[in-house]
Subunit: 338 residues, 2 copies
C-alpha cells in the first residue's frame, strides 16, 4: 500500500491512498483523515485502506484524483518522534578520518543515534530555507521507517515487526555548525534544521524481496543540480538494520505509534577504502560532506563546496521496471527571509 | 487559566479547564477536546476557555467535576517537540567539576540544549518504570514552557511572547548511561527515558509578578522519600531565560505550536561555591547527581545513592498562600517488566 499526505491548509494534511504507479490517489476520510490517525489505530484501519488501494490499482475509482507530488506534505507533516541513526558506519569512519580522529571500535556494535526536531517537517518539493551559506548547507540521503507502538526493551527481531511504513529522507545538515555544537557535548541541535521526506510512504510488502533483513536493497539515487551524484545501495554496508535501530531507540523507553526512525546517510565502501565518486566510475555519495572528506584525505583539502542558494537536490529509488517507488524528494535551497 | 489532560483511554487525553484552587474542573469539548487542538489554534480558542475558567472560579459550574491529579496525563501526553536546555549553569559547572573537567566559558553565553523523546510522556502520578537500578536512576526538577508557533531566527524578546503555558517537569535521567553515551558524541538518547510533567499547565498571568524576565521566581520544592530535598528558587541563577532558550531552539528552524522547552535542572549557588543541602541549612538540590557532586568534591566520593525501586519523588511550587500552583508531580520508581 502507498500513502501520502496532501497539503490542505491544516497542520497534518489530508491522508490519501496513492496508486502503485503514483498516478492517482483517493481520500479515505471515512477511515482516517490524517496519517497520524491511521498510525494511532493501524491494526484496525489498515485493512480497509489496503482494499481501497487494490481497487485503485485495478482500475478507475470513484473520487480518484491525479496524484501531484508538488501538493504533498511529508507523509507525516509533523511527528511525535524523529530519531536518526548512523547505520552506515563507513560514513562515520569517513567523517572521523577527514578530521584525523580515530573511530571507537564500539561504533561497530552500538548504534549512534540522535533525536531530531519533528514538529515542522518540510514537504518533499518545498524549498530548503536557510539563513546563510556560511552554515555549510548539505543534504543527507537516507531511508526511514515509521513504527507502530514499540515497547521498551524490545528485541531487534520484535522491533522489526513494528515497521509499518518506509520512506526516503533528506536529513538537511548545517555542516558549518556541527563542530562547535558537538564540542558542547550535547549532540546536534541547530546543525540539524527541518528534514523532508519522500512524497509517498509505502508498506514493506511494496518492496517485495528488496526489503530483506530489515534493509532496503535498492540504490538511493541522488541528483545534485541535475547531475547524478550518488547511487549507493541502501542494503549494502548498513551495519545495523532497522530492527536494531528501533530496538536501540526503545532501549529505555516506549516508542509511540508514528515514531520515525532513520538509517543515517546511505554510504557504500564499494570495495575501495572509502568509496568513489560517480564521475570516477563509483556509486558516489548521499551527501556533500563525504565527497569533501575523500578530497581532504586525497588532496589535503576539499574542493567541492556545500550548497549555495538556488542549488537543487533530488532523491529517489526506482523499482526493477525503473518506476519511482516513493516519488522524488526534489528541493531547492533558498535564502530564509526573517 | 489552568489546564490539564485527563486520562480517557485515548493517546491525547481529555482537555479540561481546572479551577485556580485545583479542586474542580470542566471539559470544554465544544471548544477543544485535546490540549494539542487548543495549541494548534490558541489565538482563536483560548479566549472562550478563559471565560469558562473565570466562571468556574466564581462559583459552581454546570458539569463541573472534582479535579483528581491521579487521573491526569501530562498536560501534553505526547508532543511534537521536547527540547530541554541547561539554563542553570551552576548545575553544569558542578557536573563538570565532579569529573575534573573544565567548563568552556562559552557555556555562559551559548545555551546547552538537547532534544528529548516526546512521543510517550508519563503522567504526573504514574510510576517511573526502569529496567535496572544499575542505570543510576535520577530525577531532575525543572520548569518548562509550551510555545505557540515560533518562526526561525526569532529574537529572544519575540520568542518570550510565544510562551502560552508553564508547567513543571521531572526530566528522569539514567546517570549510569550518560558517560558512555556522551562519549559517543551524539548527546543523550538512552540516558533520557520518558519525562513527566505537572498535572496542570498554567498561563503566565497565573503567576502574577512571579513571572518576570522570562523566569519563574518561586522555589521548586522537591521531596524525596517524604523528606525535603530541594527548594531552590527557579528565578535565581537561571543564566538564560525562556526567551533565550526558545530563540536558541529556533535558531535554524521553526518551532510548531505545542513545542515544550525546558529550563534544565533548577540549581542555586546560594552564595556558597556550589550550594548546600537542606539539612545543612541550604536550599538543597533538584536532582541526586548534584548532591553526589558536592560529596565527591568534598569527600572524594559520593555517599548518596541514586534512586532504588520503591523510592518516591514529589515536585511542586506553592503560591504566596501556600497553595499548589501546578499540582504535584508525585512518582514512584518501579521495576519495568519486559
Amino acid at each position: 500500500m502507498k500513502l501520502a499526505s496532501l497539503k490542505n491548509n491544516t497542520r497534518d494534511g489530508q491522508l490519501v491512498v496513492v496508486s502503485r504507479d503514483l498516478s492517482r490517489c483517493v481520500t479515505v476520510t471515512d477511515v482516517a483523515s490524517t496519517m497520524q490517525q491511521l498510525l494511532d489505530n493501524w491494526a484496525n484501519l489498515a485493512p480497509a485502506l489496503q482494499q481501497r488501494y487494490e481497487a485503485l490499482n485495478s482500475g478507475s475509482f470513484n473520487g480518484e484524483m491525479p496524484f501531484e507530488p508538488t501538493q504533498c506534505e511529508s507523509p507525516l507533516p509533523r511527528a511525535y518522534q524523529w530519531a536518526d541513526g548512523s547505520a552506515y558506519v563507513n560514513h562515520v569512519e569517513l567523517v572521523r578520518k577527514a578530521r584525523n580522529s580515530e573511530m571507537p571500535p564500539s561504533f561497530w556494535t552500538d548504534p549512534l543515534m540522535y533525536q531530531g526536531g519533528s514538529d515542522d517537517f518540510i514537504g518533499p518539493r518545498d524549498p530548503i530555507e536557510a539563513i546563510s551559506t556560511e552554515h555549510g548547507i548539505d543534504f543527507e540521503g537516507e531511508v526511514a521507517v515509521i513504527t507502530d507502538d514499540v515497547p521498551m526493551a524490545v528485541s531487534p527481531e520484535q522491533a522489526l515487526k513494528k515497521v509499518r511504513l518506509i520512506m526516503l529522507v533528506n536529513d538537511v545538515s548545517l555542516r558549518g555548525l556541527i563542530p562547535n555544537e558537538l564540542a558542547k557535548g550535547f549532540g546536534f541541535f541547530n546543525s540539524k534544521p527541518a528534514s523532508s521526506f519522500s512524497p509517498v510512504a509505502v508498506t514493506p510488502d511494496e518492496l517485495g524481496d528488496k526489503w530483506q533483513d530489515g534493509r532496503v536493497h535498492l540504490p538511493l539515487l541522488s541528483t545534485y543540480n541535475d547531475k547524478p551524484f550518488g547511487k549507493p545501495n541502501a542494503g549494502i554496508d548498513m551495519t545495523f538494520n532497522f530492527g536494531q535501530l528501533i530496538a536501540h531507540a526503545a532501549k529505555t523507553r516506549n516508542l509511540g505509534a508514528g515514531a520515525v526512525i532513520g538509517s543515517g546517510t546511505v554510504s557504500n565502501k564499494q570495495g575501495t577504502e572509502y568509496g568513489t565518486a560517480i564521475n570516477e566510475g563509483g556509486v558516489g555519495y548521499s551527501c556533500i560532506a563525504e565527497i569533501r572528506m575523500i578530497e581532504t584525505i586525497r588532496d589535503g583539502k576539499p574542493s567541492t563546496s556545500f550548497m549555495q542558494f538556488g542549488d537543487t537536490i533530488k532523491m529517489e529509488m526506482l523499482d526493477s521496471d525503473g518506476q519511482s517507488i516513493f516519488g522524488a524528494i526534489d528541493q531547492q535551497v533558498v535564502q530564509y527571509k526573517v
